[in-house]
Amino acid sequence: MNAWLLLLPAAVLLLAFTHYPILATIRHSFFITRRNGTEAFVCLDSYHSMAADPIFWRALANNFWFALGTIPTSIALALLMAIWVNRNMRGRGFLRLAYFTPTVLPMIAVANIWLFFYTPDYGLLDQLRGLFGFGGWNWLGDPSTVMGCLIVMVIWKEAGFFMIFYLAALQQLSPDLEEAAAVEGASRWYTFRRITFPLLMPTTLFVAINAVINSFKLVDHLVIMTKGGPNNASTLLLYYIYEVAFTFQDSAYAATLTVVLLVLLSTVALIKFGYLDRRIHYQ
């Protein structure tokens, strides 16, 4: 039995839809396609126009804030949820269900629901504010709030997913350890800080890496909710790539933008495999 034979089907598809496209993207970023279909080598021209493209920088910065806004909070919430539902709390099954449910819902569907929340004046949020005498607010139409609104929604969507990983990790922790700490006189908070949390570090890392990757991948909601607006205030890199490639039909520039995305993701990979995996304690 030849191992390569077993690998073959997966390898062919991976080559065709991951490795070749990566290389092709890099190659295309150095060319432009003329209207008549011929390609021309333009060296770094596309990169220069990218550097001069304010929308690109805006998208990049947005991606950064989006990641910063969603990742720490959703991880912290996930941990809290996991600790709660790991206990013999009344209604534990229901709580697990409640926290986890958003993650199985399609982003597209979720975006529809949240879109209504954020609708000015008669949306749910403004109705609630109205009860307290506040006026309507154009949540998604105002550059200062649009990102925050998307971040809240994504946290809602993602936290439950990460919770499951924490829950799995918590269940693998021996209860002995907490008991030993209790016998030694440690408070619950101390035990969490010094024992539980450090031991969950591999999970935290795994979840964080996933969250970072997701923050580059999640754009479905933009299509429904903001189309990147107003004035690009909610554009994310991948959405911009989509726009450039398919709406503007400029695949050379899209390739250039994709290269940036690839570099970012590879950096994440390098950090994970090259550095963190070595430093964090695995059991």
């Binding site: 209207r35 008549n36 126009s49 304010p54 929308i55 609708t119 000015p120 004046d121 008669y122 109205g130 005498g133 506040f134 006026g135 309507g136 154009n138 998604l140 139409g141 105002d142 550059p143 189309k227 607006g229 107003p230 004035n231 690009n232 205030a233 726009e243 398919f246 709406t247 503007f248 039909q249």
Partner: protein, 399 residues
Amino acid sequence: VDLTMYYPVAVGGPVTKIIDDMVSRFEKENADIKVTAVYAGNYTDTMTKAMTAMKGGQPPQLSVLLSTDVFTLMDENAIVPMDGLVTDKSWFKEFYPAFMANGQIDGKTWSIPFQRSTIVLYWNKDAFKEAALDPEKAPATWDEMAKMAKKLVKKDASGNTTRWGVEIPTTGYAYWMLQALAIENGQKLMNEPGNEVYLTAPKTVGALDYWVDLSRKHNVMPTGTIDWATLRTDFLEGKTAMMWHTTGNLTAVKDAAKFNFGVAMLPAKERRGSPTGGGNFYIFKSASPEQQKAAVKFIQWMTAPERAAEWSMKTGYVAVSPAAYQTPAMEAYAKGFPAATVARDQLEHAVPELSVHENGRIYKFVGDAVQAAVTGAQKPQEALAAAQQQADRVLRAYK
């Protein structure tokens, strides 16, 4: 013959149902032609789909796309002119020339008007009455609109606005609205060959200034962006007393309004004016000769006066030919509902919609500038200057 057609929907009402119904009637009359009508989203989505499908080697044979997509479609070598496909060119003359304007370039006719519009002003007569304004009289000038709007604003006890005076949408087709304002201010936005835009012209800036002032100075329009898609609902919910919107929404508004409303031409500054809007039929180059023939047949059927009238009544779009307005059904309808002809009447003041090469990109630049201005992120002047700069960069290749 099998035909695939992509079409967009940008207005309310059961549009897909109407199209499906018309298509099936056409198929019944023409048993040898089968048309698959694919609803592909809004105009941008549909254009995206059509372009993407073409590059992927599976383009539709015909499509309804923005009349202004013509340069882009020509640049992409996607479409064929109609001239060679019809035996009797007098057909082109049956349409309103204002609607043909966008589609006729270099003496060739590249598209046939279908769901065409102008921007009109909808006003809530009940609100006017409440504000002690004449419910039958819409504002005729910018100043009047601002003044009346001020009276129409309603606040609750805690000072929160519960009704705005006027709303002009700033997402979706912001460039369209800007163009309307610019024209009224006496400024055209583009040149004939579609390779220049005039965003920094003082009068263009003035148009945007007025727009921004409505919210920031006169406080008659909400700040932040106003969503194209939900504006109609706002109007129907009474959240605004007036709105600027496509006439394509007329029937949807008529069907849902629980109050009396009127429709008027857009108010004037230096002049009255509105760009035309909406979608035309295009035939794709890659279609086989029989398919192209069949497509023409389909287009002719769809735009024939009875169908144009039917379509206009069911949606609110302007019927594309004068003949349609002479059909008995349309005449009866217009009599009972005079608003139905306001958009057509406005054609006399209308100009072709902003149509340039790489129109998708240019629209985004203009839209971004409008949004930057209305959200207060930039002064209209700066915002438009930035857009002009980017547009120049893109259009340089087409000079």
